[in-house]
Symmetry: C2
Subunit: 211 residues, 2 copies
């Protein structure tokens, strides 16, 4: 199991995921388009976290988390360089610039667009509908676990993401092929609406009940 993870993006999600992964003995590399910012954020996060450029983050390990705004995905991927054979965990939601909706809908998804841009990488969709606070407070819902759905088309990449999710204390559920990002992305809009417009705050998450 690959324990080296590069994260493209140093926003709330990238930092929260990076910290949680590092706390669970992953080696993390945070990449920013501003190399100095990448280094600085890594220093803030402490042990097991390095930082620098996007290209360095992409090169760092076999797994790359894409954690940038939808509008700069193409730019970030260009800066990343070769990603052939890597597992790319796409947590991007195609939010419109004012965050009021999804910029792409049922006929596509941000995950599929990403996969088309890097056809030889193994893209999985995951973590896209969780608030950063979910990752910031590991036992937030103890003794219950939040469910993290993921989807993708590559079995190995899915095995990776499944184990990662377990490792960081959540309940992984395989939600099928990458195309199903079309249904995970709207889930993000739902939780955003609940958290902000409905004022439930960001200490909320989804759990899949089973019997």
């Amino acid at each position: 199991m690959e324990k080296k993870i590069g994260i493209i993006g140093t926003g709330n999600m990238g930092k929260a995921l990076g910290k949680l992964l590092a706390d669970h003995n992953y080696e993390v590399f945070l990449g920013s388009r501003d190399l100095e910012k990448g280094k600085q954020v890594a220093e803030e996060l402490g042990a097991n976290v390095q930082g620098g450029s996007i290209a360095e983050a992409a090169e760092f390990g076999g797994i790359v988390i894409l954690a940038v705004h939808y509008g700069v995905v193409a730019e970030a991927l260009a800066a990343a360089g070769p990603l052939a054979g890597k597992t790319v965990i796409d947590i991007v939601n195609p939010l419109t610039p004012d965050f009021s909706g999804l910029a792409v809908g049922h006929t596509s998804s941000a995950a599929e667009e990403t996969a088309a841009l890097i056809p030889d990488a193994k893209v999985v969709k995951a973590f896209n509908y969780a608030f950063a606070s979910t990752f910031q407070n590991e036992n937030a819902f103890s003794p219950e676990k939040a469910t993290m759905f993921y989807c993708g088309d590559d079995a190995d990449a899915k095995a990776d993401i499944d184990m990662i999710i377990s490792d960081i204390g959540f309940d992984p559920v395989d939600a099928g092929p990458l195309q199903n990002a079309r249904y995970l992305e709207p889930l993000a809009m739902l939780i955003i609406q609940l958290g902000f417009a409905q004022k439930m705050g960001t200490c909320i998450a989804f759990k899949l009940l089973r019997r």
Copy 2:
């Protein structure tokens, strides 16, 4: 609180909801485009359930549950007749005929289309992403409760649906304006994918975790 509920549609969802509501002392009227089928299904369901035509179901009480296939919504609403001032609970998902996707996406939703067809009714979206089995086995997830998100633009209609959801043993969560059906409808596609393509079965449901 209105205890008389008409249900348009006698499929799995209409029947399961009707039974559960009746078990909780609601008076239920199931309407079918085949009047005799409506009567027959009602008889099967037993106490507190009547049946007949769609127009009768629509006329029965202040609350109407629209539980038909997406393709026949316009036809069912025409058969219903006047719905002015009524609360219409829209559980329809805009599934494509082969159930492989959503026929309408982020720029609209089945709920909004329905609301446009009956502009003087109070449309709320609810129950659309739960499997019928969720309603068939009330304590399926005991001691946990499945969350039922609902959305709509009318405060009174939302107060109604909130109480209904509580009454039948679920956790109601206000998901905002009707437009947010755009995010509840894809949730249905997600659970369909999990239940069938991913073979998790239909004994699954969503719960919103909070702290």
